[in-house]
């Protein structure tokens, strides 16, 4: 009898990371990839199945009822400062709840959730190595992160509620590449704003390394929370220097007001709370992922920055902005 093919579900497959993960899994032998995303998947390999539905819809349940799903990669989290708190909450929290319900009801043995390293938040009194059991203070000054923190904690509650499901929560450092996230967008600006007198340490992670970590997390027997970090942390100004773009030195006390107004008027894509990321460090301790998940980054800082600056930015669908 032929061995049954492993069936993997990817939520948010039309996002940049979803696409990269789909292609990576697609290349593996004996793997069936099913994506869920209401956005279109451009240049989709033919034998990847794509359900264009909202994960909150009942129709989604049919997939889990009729198919024997072996692993769920939950990448479909949204973090778009332009969207309202209600939509964020509903999409991220209700969506995740739904996915985990299905996993429990239809006995999916493995769930990998891509949370974000931003749950810890940049703070002046952060330790240089933030470990997985540090408090999630990211929403302290950046309220829009509340629902992502809730999702992270909610996923953690499954460790003890349903110990038969191997739940893995990944908290990657700033992912650089074709993704549309805050850091990559920041590096793509024509002039990079930096704060006078501040030069925090930053960690980056190449998108392909992020995908490798997601794949590594699917290994049977693995469960728990993992920080995922790329190459060594470096000062922000060194990272900025790699882009060879001019910088703008701004005083930190003046900035929040100006940026908030620009954000409202749509001159800026960053809410003022994100300024803290260029002010204070939030560097993660990646030891657990290295030791237990055996994850080793393969791309350096320079390559990651180049990947973010490459012009052919993913031309995504409706929710182009990704959480991580």
């Amino acid at each position: 009898m032929a061995r049954r093919r492993t069936q993997a579900v990817i939520t948010g497959i039309s996002g940049r990371l979803g696409q990269l993960l789909a292609r990576r899994l697609h290349r593996m032998e004996g793997l069936r990839v099913i994506g869920i995303d209401r956005r279109a998947f451009s240049r989709k390999p033919a034998d990847i199945e794509h359900l264009r539905i909202d994960i909150r819809r009942k129709a989604c349940e049919d997939l889990f009822r009729t198919q024997n799903i072996d692993v769920i990669f939950h990448l479909g989290l949204m973090h778009d400062p332009r969207k309202g708190a209600g939509e964020h909450h509903s999409w991220n929290l209700v969506g995740t709840q739904q996915i985990l319900e299905f996993a429990q009801r239809y006995r999916v043995p493995k769930v990998v959730i891509l949370s974000t390293g931003d749950v810890y938040g940049p703070q002046s009194d952060n330790p240089a190595f933030i470990s997985e059991d540090a408090p999630l203070l990211g929403a302290q000054r950046f309220a829009a992160l509340r629902d992502l923190i809730s999702v992270d904690m909610f996923a953690q509650s499954y460790f003890w509620k349903y110990p038969e499901i191997e739940t893995v929560v990944l908290r990657p450092a700033h992912i650089l590449g074709g993704v549309k996230n805050a850091v990559s967008n920041y590096l793509r600006l024509s002039h990079l704003p930096v704060l006078m007198g501040f030069d925090p340490m930053v960690q980056v992670l190449h998108e392909e390394d992020a995908v490798s970590a997601i794949v590594a997390a699917a290994r049977p027997g693995l469960r728990g929370v993992f920080n995922v970090v790329g190459p060594d942390a470096l000062p922000l100004r060194k990272l900025v220097a790699l882009t060879a773009k001019p910088t703008v030195e701004l005083p930190h006390f003046l900035l929040p007001g100006v940026v908030n107004r620009m954000f409202q008027l749509r001159f800026a894509d960053f809410p003022a709370a994100e300024i803290d990321y260029i002010r204070y460090s939030a560097t993660l301790d990646g030891k657990r992922a290295r030791d237990i998940m055996r994850f080793e980054p393969t791309f350096g800082v320079r390559e990651s920055v180049e990947a973010a600056l490459r012009t052919n930015i993913f031309d995504g669908g409706v929710e182009g902005v990704e959480a991580a």
């Binding site: 009194d125 330790p127 190595f129 501040f198 340490m201 942390a233 000062p235 800082v301």
Partner: protein
């Protein structure tokens, strides 16, 4: 009130009056007062001439470029630095190199620092514990300079800095690049595990902001450093800094304004009406840094506070003895 009780009180009052008049005569006695003023000006004159001579003859105190390079090379060699030249805390030896001339000036000219017993600082991990004073943390900078400029081979001291200070623009960045880190137990543990020399001021903000009248009276010590020493099996080197306690005269701590500005304290100095914030700058007092014998502690790091307190008292006692020695040995504040 009984007659006896009344008499006792009268006697008390009498004794108090005598003591007061004795004090007053001592203070107003023309010869004594003049002696103090004379002594002060003599010291200032001597210190000024020392500083002036040093400034005129930089070749007598400045290190050669080769010597600086050799020291920085040593710093670069031992550490876990990324390809971008910094460690995980943001410390960059090449950045320190740029600051060496400034440190040298402060250390050799301005404070004319004198070091005793530096050979007692061991190689590898150790916790340096010192008294904290002087409103601005020049004591930390001078302990660091001593081990960086004078010791062979040099040691880069990693100081646990108050988190308020590392959050400041410019100063925070300077701290991080020069190997100083935010004062968190986790940071300290990691540095000790990496065999670094970590400087801790257990008095913290309490100590540095204390009023001038409390000079050379150490405030309460925190116990965290001892737990970390037990956890990491790091020896403790007691250090007394004599001189820094007189560098800035804090006559009043402006508590509510400090609270409004979000600073731990706001010292008012006598010269503030004249100089404004510049009055916070230290006077050119003479620094005397005394390193004590390393102390080794073994035991349970999670033991009761009471157990920790006795050991912390031992460390504090050692610092007090070094401080007493320094005070007995010195001729004056400025010389």
């Amino acid at each position: 009130m009984s007659h006896d009780g009344f008499l006792k009180n009268v006697e008390k009052l009498q004794r108090f009056g005598e003591a007061m008049s004795h004090q007053l005569t001592a203070w107003t006695e023309p010869g004594k007062q003049r002696n103090r003023v004379d002594q002060f000006w003599r010291e200032v004159a001597e210190a000024s001439s020392e500083i002036a001579t040093a400034l005129l003859t930089p070749e007598t105190w400045r290190m050669s470029t080769e010597d600086i390079d050799r020291r920085v090379q040593h710093l670069l060699a031992g550490k876990n630095l990324s390809t971008f030249g910094t460690d995980a805390f943001g410390y960059s030896p090449l950045h320190v190199r740029k600051l060496v001339p400034v440190l040298e000036f402060l250390y050799r000219v301005y404070f004319r620092a004198e070091v005793h017993g530096m050979e007692r600082v061991p190689e590898g991990r150790c916790l340096l514990i010192a008294n904290h004073s002087g409103q601005l943390p020049f004591d930390g900078a001078m302990i660091g300079s001593a081990l960086l400029l004078e010791r062979n081979p040099p040691i880069m001291v990693r100081t646990m800095v108050e988190k308020f200070a590392t959050a400041l623009p410019f100063f925070g960045e300077l701290c991080y690049r020069c190997g100083q880190v935010t004062g968190l137990p986790d940071n300290c543990r990691r540095l000790l595990d990496a065999d670094e020399a970590v400087l801790v001021f257990p008095e913290g903000a309490r100590g540095i902001s204390k009023p001038f009248k409390d000079r050379y009276h150490m405030t309460a010590f925190g116990h965290g450093f001892l737990r970390l020493a037990l956890q990491t099996h790091a020896p403790i080197v007691p250090i007394a800094v004599v001189g820094a306690e007189e560098q800035t005269i804090n006559i009043y701590d402006f508590k509510w304004l400090a609270h409004m500005l979000g600073t731990p304290s706001l010292a008012i100095t006598p010269l503030m009406p004249l100089l404004g914030p510049l009055a916070m700058l230290p006077a050119p007092v003479k620094y005397r840094i005394y390193f004590g014998e390393p102390m080794h502690f073994e035991g349970d790091a999670n033991d009761d506070e009471a157990v920790m307190a006795t050991r912390v008292a031992e460390v504090k006692g050692a610092i007090q003895r070094l401080m007493n020695q320094g005070l007995a040995e010195r001729k004056g504040i400025f010389i």
